[in-house]
Amino acid sequence: MTRSLAGHRPRVIIGKKIAPYVLLLPFVLVFVAFLIVPMIYAFNLSLHKTALVGGTRFVGFDNYARAFVDPNFWSGVWLLVRFGLIQMPIMLSLALAFALILDSGLVYARGLFRIAFFLPYAVPAVIATLMWGYLYGPAYGPIAQIAAFLSLPKPDFFSENAILGSIANITIWEYTGYNMIIYFAALQAIPTDLEEASKMDGASAFTYAVRVKLPMIVPMIIVTIMFSIIGTLQLFSEPYLITNLARSVINSHFTPNYYAYTLAFTAQQYNYSAAISFVLGAVVAVFSYAFMLASNRGAR
């Protein structure tokens, strides 16, 4: 449009060059102020050591050396690996199943179901956990009451064997809808002529869903697995909030983030806590990268 107006051309080019940066500026400012600066601050913290007696001194990578051999940290990572192996497959397959059913057009009031499935994601994790904590209540919770009414043994959701499942159930409830919406959006983007073509070839709706639709949204599935890996390794709110109900199985280093929290705010080891946080970041990066490598190889 402006190309014909020769006289204005240089200014337009400069404007075009600058415009993206101007538009990015608000993001960059917030990004730097709330992510980069705190990270530099935390990294600096992690290189020092403040003791009650003796004050602060520079210790180089001592805190990192300690973190690498800290069993409290690695037991938390191991717990989350086990947690993820239970929770992620269940959550993502449920999300996928719901998305396929909604997309198939077999369901009336599709919009209603979509919102209903998504609703738990809109409930803050704190509220969700408090709610489930009440439902799980060993003596007066509704599930225990129903069990008592039916003369069944009361289930103990906070026992050592059950606790991972109980927390996984909360997170599945919270995040299935979120993943479902992502899958659903991807499914909606598949052109309808593919369906017609597969019908003409004699494929049933099920075959079409599994053989045509699924492969087409594999990139989205990979993205959601990635998000889930990152989210799982950062698990904090749910175990933190039910600690008081399950004190005998949730300790102060139950998950790595929980450990970082108690180190900083109860043990006053801010420096070591910062180092733990960076090591956790590295662990997340390693897991994510390993998964990317694996999925790329699988795709080839």
Binding site: L52, Y140, S248, N251, Q268
Partner: protein, 441 residues
């Protein structure tokens, strides 16, 4: 309340600004109209106080009525860990501390280790400490320095549900041996009913071990003796381990809604606890109001007279306060005004620390509906005189508490015994103390 909580600092700053603006406007008007105004409004001192106790603002209002030049705002930033985390964060940040805060006796060494508590003695009259019970004053003072003024104490007793004990023919235990025997008897007579719950509770643990003679810490400057897993602790651990193994006591987490409900409905028939317990029990109480009674704490020696203290609070001012004089004056009022202390004892179960009140026959004879008319203060007053003042908390008590919680929890889950837990806590705390620069002896 939540608003005030989240806007704490901003809220109070605005008040001050409005106040200054207001008084400036008034001053201008006065100048124009030629009316003389009292200079007081401009000198008004503002104090921010962090306290979690109920109805504390009422007491602050009383103080403001007597001292119109001081404006006191009480903020509730949480109880227990949240309160201390916020205080410590503000100390670390070097900004955002209140002028005065309520802290428990067991937290004084921790905050002193951070050099956060102001010495109040320069603004106190000589001999001010004489009016307090000895051990409470010992806990807040160091030589001539004073790091807080005691407000209430937590003398301990055995609170029991009289109906449940009567129904099952359980005698009120006088010794810990009786206690164990009756616990087994009750668990057998009424399965699902327990004489006590052994919840993982570090504050309670320290308090009952205090009675048994446990003295885990001796701090002298940067030197610290740590004797967490001594014989007294091991005996105590074996005592409770035997009851847990015999399923004579329950092991549910304490302080949950379910736990309070279990105390109310008689699932737990007794609780060895402090004088302040009813204020918390009442909040969740439906059935057992008026059915509770108090008896002296069970003794380790037959005929012994040793009690303990759990909790209790002091008002401390912080070194950052610009108004130390006013802060001291306020703390002194909260702590030592006898009229107010009477009110807090009869209405809110906060047991006094002033000798004059503990010796007051009328006050100690006050009958409580919660206790079915029993004048329980006599029991608590006696307990208060039986507290050995030589107990010291660690200068990093929160860390010790965290270790107690983690390792007791393991023992209760069946991994190792309570006695093993004490060994592990000892190791962890010794390592931590060394790491924090203390010389461990």
């Amino acid at each position: 309340m939540t608003n005030q909580k989240s806007n704490g600092a901003g809220f109070s700053r605005m008040n001050r600004r409005q106040l200054l603006q207001g008084s400036a406007a008034l001053g201008a008007a006065a100048a124009a109209g030629g009316v003389a105004l009292p200079a007081r409004a401009e000198d008004k001192v503002k104090l921010t106080v962090w306290a979690w106790t109920p109805r504390t603002q009422e007491m602050a209002d009383l103080y403001m009525k007597k001292n119109p030049n001081v404006d006191v705002v009480v903020e509730n930033v949480g109880q227990g860990a949240p309160h201390y985390v916020k205080l410590r964060n503000a100390i670390t940040a070097g900004t955002g501390l209140p002028d005065v805060a309520l802290i428990e006796f067991n937290s004084i060494p921790s905050f002193r280790a951070l050099n956060a508590l102001a010495d109040l003695s320069p603004n106190l009259p000589a001999g001010f400490g004489d009016q307090y019970m000895d051990w409470t004053w010992a806990a807040v003072s160091d030589g001539s320095k004073v790091f807080g003024l005691p407000w209430n104490s937590g003398p301990m007793a055995l609170l029991y549900h009289a109906d449940v004990l009567d129904r099952h023919g359980i005698a009120v235990p006088e010794t810990w041996d009786d206690f164990a025997e009756q616990a087994k008897k009750l668990a057998k007579a009424a399965p699902g009913t327990y004489l006590a719950n052994f919840g993982v509770d570090p504050g309670w643990t320290a308090a009952v071990l205090w009675q048994a003679g446990w003295r885990p810490f001796r701090t002298n400057g940067t030197e610290i003796e740590i004797r967490i897993n001594d014989d007294i602790a091991k005996n105590w651990a074996n005592y409770w381990q035997a009851l847990i193994d015999a399923k004579a006591v329950d092991t549910k987490p304490a302080w949950t809604t379910e736990w309070f409900a279990a105390l109310d409905d008689g699932t737990y028939a007794s609780w060895v606890t402090a004088a302040w317990a009813p204020i918390l029990m009442e909040q969740a109480m439906k059935k057992s109001f008026g059915k509770w009674r108090a008896a002296p704490m069970p003794q380790w020696q037959k005929g012994g007279k040793v009690a303990s203290n759990w909790g209790g609070t002091v008002f401390s001012a912080f070194t950052t306060t610009p108004n130390l004089k006013a802060a001291t004056d306020f703390a002194a009022f909260m702590s030592a005004d006898p009229q107010a202390a009477r009110f807090w004892l009869t209405e809110v179960f906060l047991f006094p620390v002033l000798t004059e009140l503990v010796d007051d026959k009328v006050l100690m004879g006050h009958k409580y509906d919660f206790y079915g008319g029993q004048p329980v203060n006599e029991v608590f007053a006696e307990a208060l005189t039986q507290v050995d003042p030589s107990f010291e908390f660690a200068p990093f008590q929160d860390y010790v508490n965290l270790q107690i919680e983690d390792h007791f929890a393991q023992a209760i889950a069946g991994r190792g015994t309570l006695a093993d837990a004490f060994d592990r806590i000892q190791d962890a705390v010794v390592a931590y103390a060394g790491d924090q620069g203390y010389t461990v002896k």
